[in-house]
Amino acid sequence: MTSSVARVSADGIARVGEDLPHPERRETEPPMPKTSARQRMISIQGLKKSFGDTVIYDNFDIELPQEELISIFGPNGCGKSTLINMISGLMPMDAGEVLYDGQTIKETKISYVFQNYREALFPWLRAIDNIHYPLKVMGLPRRTREERVEQLLADFEIKIDLNAYPYTLSGGQQQTVSILRALVTEPEVLFLDEPFSALDYEMTLFMREQIQKIYLKTGTTTLLVSHDLEEAVQLADKVLLLTRRPTRVAEIVDVGLPWPRTTQVTTDSRFVDIKRHCLEVFWREVKAS
């Protein structure tokens, strides 16, 4: 396999929307301004992973900008989960190096939100104690923990009874608790693996708004795996399109639509164009085998 290299610098990306009438990059900039002249990068070099005889990644290289919301979309079983599991340190890689602005995975504060919130939250702890837990692991004293959690809850105007046990909450509420648990440590990078796929449609729409709110407020580097192209485009500065196994980068599509992205955005002609382009790339990659 030849290695696939896709470099994304602040300007050097093939933009899909280029032929469109100059879209404003953002109406609302995230509050954390990119003060450094240099764009901070996630760099993945020479990544290899196989399960038995199945090669998932073979010399996979990519650079992705930090402080952006990046969605990952690709065919079923192409290795989206495997990719974020490896670069978040949950799963060992066979070979390769992952650096977050020069820092290793271990040196980077990472949080992970699982698809299956039922199996990711601790049902023996109340919702509030679930949120406290990562801070406890960090060894913070009770006072500090309480302050942090309170601040977090105030920031996002959470209206959930957090003294309840997780299993008594609705799916959306449980996933919200999981996301709060991930955010409370103030991570530098947030990973979400199909976080809404177990929720009903109404809840999914609501959660997409929540994710935007979080991203716009914190500006945290966020990698979101989605199996829904509309979601992948709506919730991203860049869409990372992957090929079938052995997996390469098909394209990194710059979305460049203004934030926040309401549901109305999804009917905007620019949005539709980007989505169509992604779909074309996707089909081309699925058919080429």
Binding site: S81, L90, E119, Y133
Partner: protein, 280 residues
Amino acid sequence: MHAGTVDAGPGRKNQGSSMSARILKALKKPKARRCAELTLGPVFLVAVWWIAFAGELVNKDLLPSPFATIADTAVAIAAGDMIHDFLQTLIRVAYSIAIATVLGVPIGIALGAKDSVYRSLEFVIDFFRSTPATAMFPLFLLLFGLGDIAKIAVAAFAAWLVIVFNVAYGVMNARQTRILAARSMGASSLRIFKDVIFFETLPQTFVGLRTAVSIALVVIIVAEMFIGAVDGMGHRIIDAQISYQLTDMYGSILAAGAMGYGLNLGLLIVEKTIVHWSGR
């Protein structure tokens, strides 16, 4: 297949005490209904018993009247001698379960933590788990003599095997996602054991505990019958049989049954309180 969500394989075992489970469920129904449902079975049993007795369907020398049995049992309880036997058996069972739990849970966790260790010991554990505990009486008599210690030791040994097996099984089948979640937060292995795996294992631990209590009760009763006991329900039953006190024998059998049932129900209630998330 998702890398992060490995399923726990076969459903958790839930043998035994289906009756007490149903009673527990019945407790949540409207009062009148549940009283009727709860009393129906025992009333039916007494009715059948009485018909068999009054209609002389069974030899009168083998089956006393149910009412005479209940009356004599009430007298024996009031006099205190049945209570003494009952408590002696209960204490022996409690000792063996306490020993089995204290030694079984940590060992089960340790064995389950290392798949390879458990696999290499699996045969031995399975072998002794399948060996009738009563077959080991002579060995334990040699080791511990005729007294209480031998009885408790055999029961504890049998109960211990069940607990070790169930706890190890529970650890090996703990949901990977929660362990991964804790690890992604930077939790140490020890912390993951204490905060995650221990709780993940609790439902299976209780399955083991309930089975262990049933086994320990059987072993203790049999031991009391045949191994130089001076008290206990087993001793009382065999004594009544030898001295041909039919009502006492039947009453003692019922009392022993009540003990087993009560222990099971009690454990189930404790389990529902502690493992409140189970099956949710």
